[in-house]
Amino acid sequence: MSTAIEIAQSRSSSAMYAGRPQVLLERSWLAFRSTTWVPIFTGFIEPVLFLLAFGYGMGNLVGNISVGSASIDYTMFIAPGLLATSAMNGAVYDSTWNVFFKLNESKLYKTMLSTPLGPMDIALGEITWALLRGLVYSIGFLTVVSVFGLTPSVWAVLAIPAASLVAFGFASFGMAITSFFKTYQQMGFVTFVLLPMNLFSGSLYPISVYPDWLEKIIMALPLWHGIELVRAFWFGNINSGILVHIFYFLIMIAVGLFVTSHRLRALFLR
């Protein structure tokens, strides 16, 4: 039979995974090439606006914040928090609204699953793309912040891989949740739940201002771990505590990937 078939045959393996998630990246790149820079630019501008408003406007009212034993400028305090929050928002946007569209409107995943690709290829490929976009936002934000002279030391660059881990966790988890949703109202619910997490997780002030019970709830939420992780690298406060945050995100990634791939299989390979 034809060579094309032989190649395909040799490469198709298990029902879940054909070992070709990179073709999803190729597809995303082709689609991305023809879009304009508007959404990228606006996605990047948002944390910068927050930094300007809260940093300059609020800084006067708030003064310095104590982190550990050091007392630091308010603007410097919120910068890593905003980095983590924007990594989350970028990853969540890509893995919820975009994924919802491909699941329910364009049926792209259904088409892909009529080829030898498996659900795991799709999950890995899409999440990696969300991660890459989050990475671009993070690098952009770090660049701006450095220009304003708000980075404490060159080690702040390590906050980038930390923010990527946060993005990976949220992308993976976001895609898993989206795979259960059928209507736009349900998707609106995602946005609605994210806002309080955004506001309460300590990107703009230390959560020690809360009563004890509220502090405990916030510490169970993923964004708080993300902010603490990025902040630790940002200020070079590396200690064994960050292992907890890293572990939290590894669990999120694993659960997200597992649920997403099984949901895709249940939805389209019945």
């Binding site: 039979m1 034809s2 060579t3 094309a4 078939i5 190649i7 395909a8 045959q9 490469r11 198709s12 393996s13 298990s14 029902a15 054909a18 070709r20 073709v23 190729e26 597809r27 082709l30 689609a31 023809s34 364009s106 049926k107 792209l108 259904k110 088409t111 892909m112 699953l113 009529s114 080829t115 030898p116 690709l117 498996g118 389209f268 390979l269 019945r270």
Partner: protein, 308 residues
């Protein structure tokens, strides 16, 4: 004849209480053009999804290229070209990018696909639309692109679900011409349709389906010969009178079907039958003599028309 490419035995698919496919048997040989003819809801698309290894069955056996699609999904899918009922092209990409990325899903090399794209664009008559976003294509063009896309991996079997539904007559004829070429090249085609003219034009052999079961199978000509007369006389007396007149007409015609708007009379010589009606002084408002078609076969087998 070598082993059949597709072998289906006792295939049943239930969705809860509903039995969508009910104990279906058929085989498709290499190079054959095989059709599933039946009205909407007959279970054709469900069978196609099972053949495409994207849907599981409730019972029965299915072998495609000697493999069970449920156990070897990716392997079976690697040998299939799938053209679903709704075009599911990638709206964010151009025509040629659609072909390219689909080939990549199969793990084909970029070099192989790039050579293949030229051939497929020519086949789909879309050379001029190469760099156009697919949203801008007409319905017929989208359909041709979907078919071309299904061919990018040089599949052993091309599965087409309702290939011309929703297209205007001109676009349908262009598409039939393209599919006929594939048939001439020896590509094995499996298609579903509820258009009897499409089944007559494209299928070497077909099964007539209704309510999940196969009513009959054979070649289009063979089925017509077996289940219908050579000619059909269609007469209309106005919807008020049809039923009354039919009682009289039964005396001069062995088999007829009384539809709400017309009466179909089966005979070897339609003109002669029409003369007899005139002799009886029953003047139909319109009359037409035509060859028997698969529509008549379906009517005979189920008592219903294909398109309701």
């Amino acid at each position: 004849m070598s082993n059949p490419l597709i072998c289906v035995r006792g295939l049943t698919k239930k969705f809860g209480d509903l039995t969508a496919v009910d104990g279906v048997n058929f085989e498709v040989a290499e190079g054959e053009s095989f059709g599933l003819l039946g009205p909407n809801g007959a279970g054709k698309s469900t069978i196609m999804c099972i053949l495409a290894a994207t849907s599981t069955r409730t019972s029965g056996t299915v072998e495609i290229l000697d493999k069970d699609p449920e156990k070897f999904g990716p392997l079976v899918r690697a040998h299939l070209g799938v053209v679903p009922q709704q075009d599911n092209l990638d709206g964010e990409l151009t025509v040629s990018e659609n072909l390219f990325i689909y080939g990549r899903y199969f793990g084909l090399s970029k070099k192989f696909i790039n050579n293949k794209i030229e051939e497929l664009l020519e086949f789909a008559q879309l050379q001029e639309k190469r760099d156009v976003k697919v949203e801008a294509l007409s319905g017929g063009m989208k359909r041709r692109l979907t078919i071309a896309r299904g061919l990018v991996s040089e599949p052993d079997i091309l599965l087409l679900d309702e290939p011309t539904t929703g297209l205007d007559p001109q676009a349908r004829h262009i598409l039939w011409d393209r599919l006929f070429r594939l048939k001439e090249q020896g590509v094995t085609l499996v298609l579903t349709t509820h258009f009897m003219d499409e089944a007559e034009q494209l299928c070497d052999r077909l099964v007539v389906m209704d309510k999940g079961a196969i009513m009959a199978q054979g070649s289009p000509a063979g089925l017509i010969k077996e289940y219908s007369s050579k000619e059909v006389l269609e007469v209309r007396f106005g919807s008020e009178r049809n039923a009354d007149v039919a009682l009289v007409l039964r005396n001069i015609c062995e088999r007829m079907e009384v539809l709400p708007d017309r009466i179909l009379m089966y005979a070897d010589d339609g003109e002669k039958l029409l003369e007899e009606i005139t002799v009886l002084k029953l003047h139909p408002t319109t009359s037409l003599v035509r060859r028997s078609s698969l529509e008549d076969v379906f009517l005979r087998l189920t008592g219903r028309t294909l398109i309701e």
